[in-house]
Symmetry: C3
Subunit: 349 residues, 3 copies
């Protein structure tokens, strides 16, 4: 009988099951510095205590995606250690802002299971919630993963597929009510474009490319205490599907978000992720580019100063995005596309 | 006459000599974040201020091995800049916990010298002590290193070999008396196994492997202000013994400790290192695995809530540890073994 | 009409123009830890709060060059995104010390423009000033860069070349008046050599070499929010002038400064950079060495305890500096030289 955690297999999950994930994590200004070194974000609100205070925060909040990665990372040992693929995200809502020295922990509920017809794998739907030390929700999201069966003879469970929203309704967003934008300084923020300057259907090429190194994605993924083996173990991955380690999908999301500053510099808050898929794997040596389409614009009732943009940000590898590569007529993705992310940001009106 | 420190040679050391090492170091939450990014440790006490407070600390203490590396690093310019090999450790005891913003400094005493029969090198035994800004001991240890002679004609000193304990007696340990474990939460800690669940002779494969990159070990070693040339200078090492840089041995210790979370998740405190040897060098590109044997179990008189496990953790490179590779019948190590560490951890009873 | 910042071209600059650079930046102990991991500096004043307090600081100030990189980084999107070359620095003076949690921002004034005779590029002279959250100057410097024209037909502006000092006069230095050195501990500082021990014309080989990895310089450059494309995008640089990414010149300055500890351990403060040039590019895989010549010694009137050394530090790649490689009889640099930096440091008398 081993004391080693082998992770859960498909048959270990059942609908309604609640999981308290291990290793609460105090997020510090050290983590913020590493996040900056890993992705080079330039959003003024997260970069400067002084700028953050000028719009009503007590100090610079932690980047929303750093919160995402930390909350997500805790779920890996219980949910996706034996995952074949991370299939999708839905209903992801960011809650109260996180500040340095807040402590985050995560709990999950299994909300769906569906065995695949091959009898070897199944899809598990999980709702995870991250809270801070005052038990306030900082993030809530659903993801579904394909997980191998540990015992091929384990019985097929009753299929349950949760009803998930195509997008997060604005009325369900946690809005930063304390924010007042009359002192928001566009020059310091680095962009003259506010809510009113964007049009639905507009596409923005973020121009720059960022090459990923093995040390970078491994440092990042360990920082998030994410233990998925495919990111760390060259000795086994060399013999695996791709012959090398795979970059954590969240690393690509953060790269794309940082690149998106060039064109979306005032979009200082991610409010929700409506849907997302890691279309293809990213490897060290790949150069990540990104472009964004404005999908929707929404005014927020009761908040005069902020508007919400629903965005599609597409990341590619080794391919510039001046012509906005996406899907072909056949509905298949351009082979360079690695990320298709549908999310909602807030910015000053 | 140069102002450059060329390091000490064998003939520069004499028994009884005291050395104040340079560069006191304030350890911060930034260092802690880097430590997390470098090794991915998941012990809840060091990860979460809130968890640490629940068991009586004022906030999350700094990882014991980060303390070790910082205290050790200060000794390198004076002790081992000209070292041929770091031969062993003994009598290593961790003292009061270190918290972010504590300032560490190190002093050493030469406790033994013995010239080798080749007349070109000798072994120097050094006792080093790290203290915090309140002059409280945070770590004390003996190590012995083989150092080259600067002048082949320097006279052979009287051989003095200190009497070193085979293991640190529990009665000499600095025990965290302030700790109360009634609120210790096994689920948040990530392991259901407490002191009572382990048996002497039990072996645990920690399963996961972690590949080392050049940038990672160099970042780590600079973080510790360790200046040993073999870790940093490819231009000279390319012509050297191995044709490449060598990973700092302490980097491997930290990797093995982090991997050991999977099976030893409640072993939140390293109390002592009884003995240790870097069996073979580790290089960038190697994947490090580890396994542990329980050598001894000791109850601690006067401390109802804690037990001590004496462990042997063995690290390998590019070889999984399901069959616990160690020594062959001839007494020689399996060629994959790179670290053999005998140490004592504390965990809840 | 794109919302992406394409950077300014030569014709976009005019003398007298003022630029408020984006993204104010709170510098934290996390940034300090990363700086330590990237370069391994060992100056006691910056390493230890306790040592810094012993000489009159409130706590350990942030490394002067980290301040330089952060203030400089903010200018890149506006000044040098389309730069062909960073030609030189002058009149660079460090101001009040920066401590963790200070917020830095940068403004610049264009002080000269001169089109090159090829009609395709021109030189832009820029004075940049970094201030903290109390509007106190932390750094001021002039640099000049060669920038491409966006429109080859843009008219040639009237040439204006500013009159720049060959060196910063001591009387213009911001001196740390609060410093008292009677408790300065040479042993903890790591060097017995004070102002009086150095002689004009003396040369010091800093001995050690440090190899640069792609992940290291990319982490550093993103940490400084410096967006120059040549450091990050392998996909385009592979087709470019050098077939690979170029290391940010400031990275080499920091490596040389850290190496210079070995021989200049008491030179705890950079007061000024008189002139500097990146003689040749540095690439990942190169090992950086450095040596220093003492150019001038100056006593500082009114400050009994401090002296100023004007230094030339030369960095090379893949070449040890025991014979102080510099310029040949023809006035050309030794091919191994990559940096020629003329700067002024303060150290105890």
């Amino acid at each position: 009988m081993t004391k080693t955690n082998a992770g859960n297999f498909f048959e270990d999950f059942e609908v309604g099951q609640e999981i308290v994930h291990a290793t609460p994590r105090t997020v510090t200004s050290g983590d913020v510095a590493l996040y900056t070194a890993l992705y080079g974000p330039r959003f003024a609100v997260q970069s400067s205590d002084q700028f953050a205070r000028s719009i009503g925060y007590s100090l610079a909040p932690v980047d929303d995606l750093l919160v995402f990665h930390v909350v997500f990372g805790k779920t890996v040992p219980d949910i996706s250690l034996n995952a074949v693929a991370n299939l999708g995200y839905a209903d992801c809502r960011f809650g109260v802002p996180v500040f340095p020295d807040d402590t985050l922990s995560t709990r999950s509920t299994i909300i769906g299971v569906k065995e695949n017809s091959n009898g070897k794998t199944g899809v598990v739907y999980v709702r995870s919630k991250g809270v801070n030390q005052r038990h306030l929700t900082v993030l809530e999201f659903v993801r579904w993963v394909m997980v191998g069966k540990g015992d091929a003879n384990a019985p097929t469970p009753k299929a349950t597929v949760p009803d998930l929203p195509e997008k997060v309704m604005l009325t369900r967003l946690a809005l930063p009510a304390e924010i007042k934008l009359n002192l928001y300084d566009d020059r310091l923020a680095g962009s003259p474009y506010r809510f009113g300057n964007y049009k639905v259907g507009e596409k923005i090429d973020h121009v720059d490319g960022m090459t990923v190194e093995e040390a970078e994605h491994a440092l990042a993924t360990r920082l998030y205490q994410n233990t998925a083996k495919v990111h760390f173990n060259l000795h086994t991955e060399r013999e695996g599907r791709f012959g090398r380690r795979i970059v954590y999908g969240g690393h690509v999301i953060s790269l794309a978000r940082s690149l998106s500053f060039n064109g979306l510099g005032n979009a200082f808050r991610i409010a929700a992720i409506n849907a997302g898929s890691h279309v293809a794997p990213c490897f060290a040596g790949d150069t990540v580019y990104a472009w964004t389409e404005i999908l929707e614009k929404e005014e927020i009732s009761g908040l005069e100063s902020l508007g919400a943009l629903r965005l599609r940000t597409v990341a590619t590898k080794d391919r510039a995005c001046a012509d906005f590569p996406y899907k072909g007529k056949d509905g298949n993705y351009d082979p360079a596309v690695i990320l298709d992310l549908d999310y909602t940001v807030l910015l000053p009106r």
